[in-house]
């Protein structure tokens, strides 16, 4: 029996748990990371990729706050691309392929080398509380660890159940045990839970794939890295290609004919699936009009032939999976190394959390990642860093951190979860952010690094880089507003990009406002620009091109702040409020909105209900 005392204990070594543990330890808290298998710290259970639309924003925000994910993928990425570049500066996102094993080792290295952080293999079976506050945890071999705060990040391991055809077995990941006792412990504490389902595609042997019939996707040049510490640096690992192919009519026929064998469709999986990451069964059955679906082949690493098949996720029996794979151009002879499977798991209704990710039921207990009903590594890590920061701040008896919707995608995600709950696995989208033009990848540091610094998570190197970048952006902004360009120098370029030439000397800022003009292109024409790196040039260009729109959104932010500042006390008894429907009374009692603004975002809320609450408060 061990009776060691910690400031913070983090349960789970996945993407949420790791960020939580690192944040807590870096803030000087004596931290313990408990995970069921030390070999799986930072493991990528699904596809070997980090980032993507909206997700790239999350990674940059985690990085700007002083997190690890961006640094780790920069060190171990084997393909980096910017997506959506033709759709807008605000929605441009970075995506990378990881060398899966190297990524995992890189994360483990960070965890092992972090001062104040202890690691221990073990299976937590119980959360110890005094009814109000968390006290510690107990493991299956009856070890007991005490702490001031506990972060729970068990991923899909809570009540995990795997399905392949008519076979099903309890598991957290294929070949790994689920964590069921801790689920019981949570339910005993009064947490309400639901079930979700997700899935993953088969892995193939790359040597048996005919890539020559597929479209090739290469890394961008220069490769865009994630971390603000690595701006304009080059990737460390060699870059490799991904491939695109498509399902065929034959694939769809196989699905339709065997749909009764699918674990998901035969009704044995009760959990609700993800609408935007559907299994192939879902795609074929729900969108019969689509002739083909895209399949993305991702290499799992430099030292393996294993290929992840993105878009073939299914829970059909293995022989059908094989037929499916072979019906796809280029995969006619492909050999399956690991089957695809569906997994059903338990999640805790996230409206039982505060914006700090601390639970409302047990003080000092924080939940992060898939347990809160999200899907995706980046979503998990974004919650992990916030839960870790707040667990540490609580242990240090300091004021907890809340990031709001106007500051970051992390804020949008957490507010959505705790205010609206979620009845399907939650994935970030840029369209979830109402102040999207303000929340760009490229200004994540301008939005968050000062906050990270104030908490104490931003190291000196990052702070110096940030300040340097900030100064350079200001300097370049001043320069383009002052600098005049002359017709003779610029008109050739202007005509080439299809915009009208200038007749007299014009300030550079006026030209940047034209949609056709790309400031990076002007580096070869305007010498002064060569002092500035591409990331600075991009940021300045965005601020100028989007100026009017940014101002409009800033005005909306003011409106948002006003409503957020109308605070609602925690102890309102909504059952006493006259004029509220029973449904709303239940919702409000559960969610306990912190402000009128948050109350108004609860689904089903009406202006009359807001009035009723206000009049109740006025009478009290």
């Amino acid at each position: 029996m061990l009776y060691e005392k910690y400031d913070v204990i983090v349960i789970g070594g996945g993407h949420a748990g790791v960020e939580a543990a690192l944040a807590s330890a870096r803030l000087g808290c004596k931290t313990l990371l408990i995970t069921m298998n030390l070999d799986k710290i930072g493991f990528m259970s699904c596809n070997p990729s980090i980032g993507g639309i909206g997700k790239g924003h999350l990674v940059k925000e985690i990085d700007a706050l002083g997190g690890e994910m961006g640094l780790a993928i920069d060190d171990t990425g084997i393909q980096f691309r910017k997506l959506n570049t033709r759709k807008g500066k605000a929605v441009t996102s970075t995506r990378a392929q990881a060398d899966k094993l190297r990524y995992q080792l890189r994360i483990k290295w960070a965890v092992e080398n972090c001062p104040n952080l202890q690691i221990r293999q073990g299976t937590v079976t119980k959360i110890i509380t005094d009814g109000k506050w968390v006290k510690g945890v107990e493991t299956d071999i009856k070890e007991v660890f005490y702490a001031k705060a506990v972060v729970l990040a068990p991923g899909t391991f809570l009540g995990g159940l795997i399905f392949i055809g008519d076979k099903s077995f309890p598991a957290g990941r294929l070949t790994e045990q689920p964590a069921n006792l801790i689920l019981e412990s949570l339910k005993e504490l009064g947490f309400q839970t639901g079930r979700f389902k997700t899935g993953t595609g088969p892995r193939l042997d790359g040597r048996t794939i005919n890539f020559s019939v597929m479209d090739v996707i290469e890394s961008d040049d220069p490769a865009p890295l994630f971390s603000f510490k690595n701006m304009n640096k080059k990737p460390k690992l060699p870059q490799v290609a991904c491939y695109i192919t498509y399902t065929t009519e034959e694939t769809h026929r196989i699905i339709r004919e065997n749909i009764h064998l699918s674990a998901m469709y035969s009704g044995r999986i009760k959990g609700k699936g993800v609408r935007y990451c559907p299994s192939l069964e879902d795609k074929v059955m729900k969108f019969p009009e689509k002739e083909r679906h895209r399949i993305f082949l991702e290499p799992e690493g430099l030292d393996t032939f294993e290929i992840y098949v993105n878009g073939l996720g299914n829970s059909l029996p293995i022989d059908i999976q094989e037929k499916l794979v072979h019906s796809v151009p280029g995969l006619e002879k492909a050999e399956i190394l690991r089957p695809g499977y569906a997994i059903e798991y338990e999640y805790v209704f996230p409206d039982q959390l505060n914006h700090t990710l601390e639970t409302k039921i047990i003080r000092g207990l924080f939940l992060a990642g898939q347990i809160n009903g999200t899907t995706g590594y980046e979503e998990a890590a974004g919650q992990g860093i916030i839960a870790g920061i707040n667990a540490a701040l609580l242990a240090k008896e300091e004021e907890l951190l809340v990031i709001d919707r106007t500051q970051a995608y992390i804020g949008v995600m957490i507010d959505d979860l705790v205010t609206k709950g979620t009845d399907e696995a939650y994935r970030i989208f840029t369209s979830r952010a109402e102040y999207r033009l303000l929340l760009r990848e490229n200004n994540a540091d301008l939005r968050l690094t000062e906050i990270g610094k104030k908490i104490g998570l931003v190291d000196d190197e990052r702070w110096e880089i940030f300040q340097n970048r900030k100064v350079k952006i200001e300097r370049l902004l001043a320069l383009v507003k002052k600098l005049k360009v002359y017709p003779g120098d610029i008109n050739g370029y202007l005509e080439r990009v299809g915009t009208s030439p200038i007749r007299e000397a014009t300030r550079l800022v006026e030209l940047i406002k034209r949609p056709e003009v790309n400031l990076r292109d002007l580096k070869i024409i305007i010498d002064e620009l060569s002092n500035f790196s591409d990331d600075i040039i991009d940021e300045v260009e965005t601020e100028i091109k989007y100026e009017g729109y940014i101002e409009r959104q800033l005005r909306e932010v003011e409106q948002f702040r006003k409503l957020e500042s109308l605070k609602l006390p925690d102890d309102i008894n909504y059952w006493e409020v006259e004029g509220l429907s029973t449904e709303l009374k239940e919702k409000l009692s559960r969610i306990k909105p912190k402000s009128i603004g948050q109350a108004m975002r609860i689904s089903g809320m009406t202006p009359a209900a807001v009035t009723a609450i206000q009049s109740y408060l006025a009478k009290k």
């Binding site: 935007y276 369209s431 729109y549 004029g579 009035t611 009049s615």
Partner: protein, 459 residues
């Protein structure tokens, strides 16, 4: 979302004060049932009621519970929330009219905890509780205040949800565009590329629809302020006399001298509950007098503006050059023309069937007051025919629509300029907000929902 006064129980007399056989006293709010339980006694036996069934008519008496004094014999209907006009518990007490009874009943309700409702407070609660939208609320006000029949009928259409439906449809189409844009942004890898051209086309169609609706605003204004009835004819045919007769007052100077009216005269009058703007014009003839010439030109202008045109001819004379010129002028507007053959008292030189291509020909004598009533009837009939508007649009709708239109215009312009989707999205969302403002709702989550109903989306 607006934040208003406390939601207590309100009561008011819903019928006008003064003599009347019956009056209705209304009460709405959480205390409704407990208050009527106190004051209502069922049947002649004056039995106290424990519970009221909803939407059932009860016969009985209103009694002051403090001293058991019977106030009036009434019928009462109780509506349980949310199935009531306001969406709250509500009751309507139908009592005898007059000054005393309804006020005593109201007083009693107030004594038991209700408060006197403010203007429009019942409708406001109906809106706040989502029973009606803003347009329907406005329609109710229009119906109550309507001073002319067309306004009333248009408002009724709006109350039935005709206009709200159109705005909702407009919003749906805009949401559709947004979901196209958002799907293209958020699902690069899976959604089919939505070409910008199709977004532009959709926006263009919406733009056209809004323009059509804006036209109805002009017509709505006409309906409110009255149709323009323009009287034309050659000099001295009796136009000013007709104006005076329609106004029932001596407004225009009438002489025997042709060309007395040199400028147009415009006056408002009411014919059988409908408002009209009657415009008397200078007589149309070939003239060399520069002042008269200006007057004639102005008459021609007014002719273009008129919603109804009264073309006057002298029935006691053969048609002259000027008359023929006038006939040519109105040839293209036959639909809106009422031919009036005046001076019937002086005899009939021309035959009615000369005007057979016109639907409406009326013989009359302004001087002898013959045939004026059938003209008035005709004018009213025409006004109803003229009411070819689809949507009755007020200034608030108009302003929001203008705003929506300008956002869409900018959206189209941005697309033409090859600007990027995240910016175009802002313009479309602002347009949606303008429309939501019209109906009185604001939301964001439905954009995502709308995306998923249409696309096959992968990770």
């Amino acid at each position: 979302m607006s934040i208003n006064k406390e939601l207590d129980t309100i009561a008011a007399i819903a019928t006008p004060t003064g003599k009347g056989a019956l009056a209705i006293v209304r009460i709405s709010g959480p205390l409704t049932e407990s208050i009527i339980r106190e004051v209502f006694r069922k049947g002649k036996s004056l039995a106290k009621m424990d519970k009221f069934e909803e939407r059932k008519v009860y016969y009985g008496f209103i009694v002051d519970p403090t001293n058991d004094e019977v106030i009036d014999e009434v019928t009462l209907i109780f509506y349980r929330a949310p199935k009531s006009f306001t969406g709250e518990d509500m009751a309507e007490i139908i009592s005898h009219g007059g000054l005393i009874v309804p006020n005593r009943i109201l007083g009693l309700l107030i004594k038991l905890g209700a408060r006197v409702a403010e203007r429009g407070e019942f409708a406001k609660r109906a809106f706040l509780n989502g029973k009606i939208d803003l347009i329907e609320a406005e329609a109710i006000a229009n119906i109550i205040e309507a001073r002319n029949e067309i306004v009333y009928r248009c408002a009724l259409e709006n109350l039935k949800g005709n206009l709200s439906g159109k705005f909702k449809e407009l919003k749906e189409t805009l949401l559709d565009v947004t979901s196209d844009i958002e799907a293209t942004i958020d699902f690069e890898e899976d959604a089919q590329e939505v070409d910008v051209k199709s977004i532009e086309e959709k926006l263009h169609k919406i733009y056209k629809t809004i323009e059509e609706m804006l036209k109805d605003y002009e017509k709505s204004r006409i309906i409110e302020t009255g149709l323009k009835v323009v009287i034309i004819g050659k000099p001295n045919v009796g136009k000013s006399s007709l104006l005076n007769a329609l106004l029932e007052k001596e407004r225009a100077i009438v002489t025997d001298i042709p060309g007395t009216t040199r400028d147009t005269i415009e006056e408002t009058t009411e014919i059988d509950g409908v408002f009209f703007r009657i415009i008397d014009t200078a007589g149309i003839r070939k003239t060399t007098d520069p002042v008269e010439k200006i007057g004639v030109e102005k008459s021609l202008e007014k002719l273009e503006e008129g919603n109804i045109i009264i073309a006057m001819f002298d029935i006691s004379e053969e048609l002259g050059e000027d008359d023929k010129f006038i006939l040519r002028l109105i040839d293209k507007k036959k639909e809106n023309v009422i031919v009036v053959l005046n001076k019937l008292d002086k005899g009939e030189k021309i035959k009615e069937d000369m005007f057979e291509e016109f639907n409406s020909v009326i013989k009359l004598s302004v001087k002898e007051k013959i045939g004026l009533e059938s003209l008035k009837k005709k004018i009213k009939e025409f006004s109803l025919k003229n009411e070819n508007i689809k949507y009755y649009i007020n200034e608030r709708h108009y302003n929001c629509l203008i705003r929506a239109k300008s956002f869409i215009e900018r959206g189209i312009e941005r697309i033409k300029n090859k600007e990027l989707l995240d910016i175009i999205s802002v313009e479309v969302k602002e347009a949606i907000r303008s429309i939501e403002e019209i109906i009185g709702e604001i939301t964001t989550e439905d954009i995502l929902n709308s995306i998923f109903s249409k696309f096959c989306i992968g990770k």
